[in-house]
Symmetry: none
Subunit: 417 residues, 2 copies
């Protein structure tokens, strides 16, 4: 089975946004062993959308359409699909009620335009909209299936995982072509992609021509480098055994050559790793941030249940806030001493067990004689007060993001993972 | 003249990289008034590449092909083009010399694989390679033109600007169709996309069939809704006049129906709007955040020069931090009174002129009898202490992001934009 992705929106053609949906869908399909040979982008134009659908149908078995399901005049995916199917659009009263209820829940009247989103081609199945007002659609066209999802990534992803992927997997299995594909991602921070490639080069060579185990690197920008293991098993048991064995092997190689760089598996984030440590220790955390301006705290509160271990933080952007509120001695604020004083100060102020702090130079100019990218992380825990110095690359925004995850990683390593 | 972009590479289909080349080229074409109705992605497979070329030829006048010009076995764009043209590939000795000289200049021997890059379809014109080893190609196919450039952005962009864009402009001018295209984006927060569509419906109807002015909505998730005006002028002056007139008209319609919802133009963010207000007033700002956990502060420090007006903030995630550090009276913390006390408290602690605060319920459970999505924004400025209540949709992460931009918008509106 071959799946084509058609992303709809003039803004894609004009380069005003990147097609991150196509990339995300491509990754999901590949991870599930479903072939995708073509992607298309087409603008908000009825004839051209229908023409793109026909091209997709001529070379693929199923088509995932992203975008054009909004409530405005230029959202014409529904009409184009009805045209392709040779049917008319009908308003589904139950969808009108769902959409109206969404507005009512927010104390607002439903604009008349949203009625458009309740229109469905005759013969199509609706994918319930759990996150936005636009329902998705499953449209049979001959022996092809067209799936339409909203272009908003958050809505699209949920619908894909809930309704489309299971359907595609069932279809692929029915046609007897699908093996059991599993993948495991080891998430690393602190080693460059080229270093990981060097360390794993021998294993890559061993796996050449092996169609049961594949390794790949996924650079995830500020979130580090992911090492993905994908296996193709005869069945569930076989796939689980293959992946477990390969994971042990890869972990051993990475730890032996690069040390404590694996912070999580699959969807685990750096802040999840911190949460685990604090829960295990039964301790609370506070944060003092200078150049990161609240980024560390805002990452930590993303963890569900953070209120049991996260007290809060101080963003001491102005130097006087460091001196007055955190009792940092007056002097240079980009130094290991200042970082330690910030950590001690915020721990006292917020009455936490553990505290971390970050001070550094985001740029564009150097500060306190330190070059752009210099970051000091202070850690206060028990009777110990210490600091770690990091050098991070990039412009203001990247320095800041790297400093945030780097500081959390330093805390993780302080407690030994 | 219609230009189609075909990006080649299995890594695009697998989602391992994003198609930033297509985005960049789309932007360049639009800025130069050249129409592009379709983009395609196809993997490193000879038959499928040729099939994609044929599809492109059936619906576009010119095709820009990115990628597949490297020196390895999976770089097959040259062969696919020769196949499409019905000609053979010949090795061009002068290209061999150029490539060999590049290696010699770096003190290295040319690998035999690089000879592949000196192969050119009979009848094609070469685009000299100034930045890498791969030359580009200009291939006439009937009355269509295929341009092939490397997938490395740095090499691709230089070739496009030097050899392809001038050629496309000359062709478009020869056919008498090229106009000056300009666009302006009005950035709004606080009105649903469907509401904007309703308000602008009359103008949309007036503009139907008008090929000089186009309106579009771009939903940007938590960053609000963008209204984009695109004009096609006879020349620079004409385009500027058209866009200025339409911008005034759209602003009037939006303000009359929806109030103060436009916070910026083109690339301006909500925090840029706040920075402008504070610089104009010569005042400093502090922030107290509960559910947003530092998100507001981290947005503010993104503005270049924030240190002149941003003092910092307190993330009072635990209730005791609100009581102890910000002097919030002990009691329910999700209320307008608590928000006001937080704003007053952080203004005193951080010695700022103005302060905003946010407290609310991110979920998953309700708190203090308030449902998920309830947000109170406190504002302390001069002698005034006030609060605004917001209702925001979504899961934890979205509630938090909406609360952050909503709070900044409340501050903007407090000072009248």
């Amino acid at each position: 089975m071959r799946v084509e992705i058609v992303a709809i929106g003039t803004e894609l053609l004009l380069g005003q946004i990147a097609d991150t949906n196509g990339q995300w869908l491509g990754e999901q399909l590949a991870a599930n062993g479903i072939a995708s040979h073509y992607h298309q982008h087409v603008g908000d134009n009825h004839e051209r959308i229908v023409a793109a659908f026909k091209v997709a149908m001529s070379r693929s078995d199923a088509v995932i359409i992203c975008g054009g399901l909004g409530p405005t005049q230029d959202d014409i995916t529904r009409a184009a699909l009805a045209d392709l199917m040779g049917v008319s659009l009908v308003e589904r009263p139950e969808l009108v009620e769902v959409i109206r209820a969404m507005f009512t829940g927010r104390g607002r009247e439903m604009p008349a335009n949203n009625l458009l989103q309740a229109q469905v081609p005759v013969g199509a199945t609706v994918i319930a909209q759990n996150r936005g007002t636009a329902p998705g659609l499953i449209c049979p066209v001959g022996n092809h299936t067209f799936y339409a999802v909203p272009g908003v990534p958050y809505e699209m992803q949920e619908m894909f995982e809930r309704a489309i992927l299971p359907d595609l997997i069932a279809k692929a299995q029915a046609s007897g072509e699908r093996a059991v594909i599993k993948s495991r991602v080891l998430r690393t921070w602190g080693a460059a992609e080229s270093r990981l490639a060097e360390v794993l080069a021998d294993r890559f060579v061993e796996l050449e021509g092996n169609d049961r185990i594949t390794l790949a690197f996924l650079a995830s920008g500020i979130e580090g480098i992911k090492v993905r293991i994908t296996v193709r098993g005869r069945d569930e048991t076989d796939a689980n055994a293959l992946i477990a064995e390969e994971e042990i092997r890869i972990r051993e190689i990475l730890v032996a050559s690069c040390g404590d760089i694996i912070f999580g598996t699959d969807g685990e984030t750096m802040e999840d790793a911190i949460a685990k440590i604090l829960l295990r220790r039964g301790e609370t955390l506070a944060v003092a941030e200078s150049l990161t301006g609240g980024l560390i705290a805002s990452r930590l509160v993303n963890v569900s249940g953070a209120s049991t271990w996260f007290r809060g933080g101080v963003v001491s952007y102005a130097s006087e806030v460091k001196f007055d509120v955190l009792n940092v001695p007056i002097g240079p604020v980009v130094s290991g001493d200042a970082a330690e004083a910030m950590a001690r100060g915020v721990r006292e102020l917020l009455k936490s067990d553990v505290a971390i702090s970050v001070t550094g130079v985001a740029g564009p100019e150097e500060q306190d004689g330190q070059p752009v990218g210099t970051v000091f992380v202070g850690i206060a825990s028990g009777d110990s007060l210490s600091h770690v110095q990091l050098r991070v690359p990039g412009d203001r925004q990247r320095v800041r993001n790297y400093a945030a995850i780097g500081a959390l990683n330093a805390l993780r390593q302080h407690f030994g993972g």
